[in-house]
Symmetry: C2
Subunit: 213 residues, 2 copies
DNA sequence: GACTGTGAAGCCATTCACAGCT
DNA sequence: AGCTGTGAATGGCTTCACAGTC
């Protein structure tokens, strides 16, 4: 088993390259160099080549990469050569936005169930989906073979929701609640924090004004 | 000027510590150790101490940190000892969710203007805010002294919106569109990508099933 | 001439381990 | 005894620079 560990930063960028390649492909570009990809996504050309090298040799020296091929490879590597059914908990504004987010569909993700424990929200429609009570989750997971869950509930409720997801067999969780989830080893969790980056900005702006600690 | 460069990862975690301290403070906790913070946010105790050490000595040996004090320090460092007016472009579902997101308000951010170029959206109300046409942005920025903008528009429109923001004096941009923005040096930009983390999950799930490249 | 693939070097961040306080 | 603060060691990611290929 030759599986040399791939840095998470590399996987992150691969996802970004892949999306950029999709754009190039739509625009009819057939060949691209590491330098052009680098330019397009804001990294160094060496970085692009090094990242791709973790997975094989996809280019032609002196020429570059075939856009369609590299796009297919990157999607394959990321596991996007299949549709991924997702379940989402939290039918608030954020949950609604995520349900209708184009960026998920275009990459092969499909939300197959939206859940909430708020009676005022249950039964509402989000696109073609109806908001269901939490108890329906096991059934939906089984029916669609979902492995990934999205948490879009207030922070206090997030841990409980995560536990429920794991109990019902989900193996990976994308968490939009600003809390650290405590879950068994083997469950993949990633957090998307909507405000942390904002605080990086205020931190940096602070230095522009007064260069003092 | 003793300003040794602070790693961005440290600033990111500082933001997370700060929010965790807020939670502790609400719960009436008065003292906390680096180990407890570490446990609460999912990093190592040494990391917590090292991160804090970039900014000073906030603890007491043998005891730990005073929660209220450390909370105040972290907020100060992050520039959160003041209110930050924000302008947001894109009154779609994501823009709507961001406008109503509690996590911004609770940290001193306040969206003071929402803009869109879609006539169907202009005039609509989001909470107490009315969606305004883009042309109103300069006025709103001036009136509130906004320095930061949020982009929540489709990817094709993001660059144009960013240019417009910069033209009107904004110094920092939080970009939710999945594209790399090209902006003059000196403008702070951070991207929040809603789907990249999801692709990290599918990548990792791919290895659990078949341990093959 | 152009561009990829890659070992080596450089750099940065995290962890270790312990001295220093309380 | 308990916990912070920190230099030193480690580990990992990024950049460099060039050989290899078209």
């Amino acid at each position: 088993m030759k599986t040399l560990r791939v840095p998470e930063a590399t996987v992150t960028r691969l996802s970004i390259y892949s999306r950029y390649l999709e754009q190039l492909d739509r625009n009819g570009v057939t060949t691209v160099s590491s330098g052009e990809i680098a330019e397009g996504v804001g990294v160094s050309p060496a970085q692009v080549r090094k990242d791709l090298a973790y997975f094989g040799e996809f280019g032609t020296r002196g020429v570059g990469y075939n856009v369609k091929d590299l796009l297919r490879y990157t999607k394959k590597i990321l596991g996007l050569d299949q549709q991924w059914p997702l379940v989402l908990v939290g039918a608030g504004n954020l949950g609604y936005a995520l349900c209708t987010y184009r960026g998920f569909n275009s990459r092969g993700f499909k939300i197959v169930g939206v859940f909430d424990n708020d009676l005022a929200k249950i039964g509402k429609k989000i696109g073609e989906l109806e908001v269901l009570p939490m108890e329906k989750m096991p059934e939906v997971i089984r029916e669609h073979g979902a492995r990934i869950g999205i948490i879009a509930v207030p922070p206090q409720a997030a841990q409980e929701v995560a536990d429920y997801m794991v109990k019902n067999g989900l193996e990976a969780i994308l968490n939009f609640a600003p809390v650290a989830l405590n879950l068994p080893a083997g469950i993949e969790v990633r957090n998307v924090d909507l405000s942390v980056k904002l605080e990086i900005l205020t931190f940096n702006l602070g230095f522009k004004s007064a260069q003092r600690l």
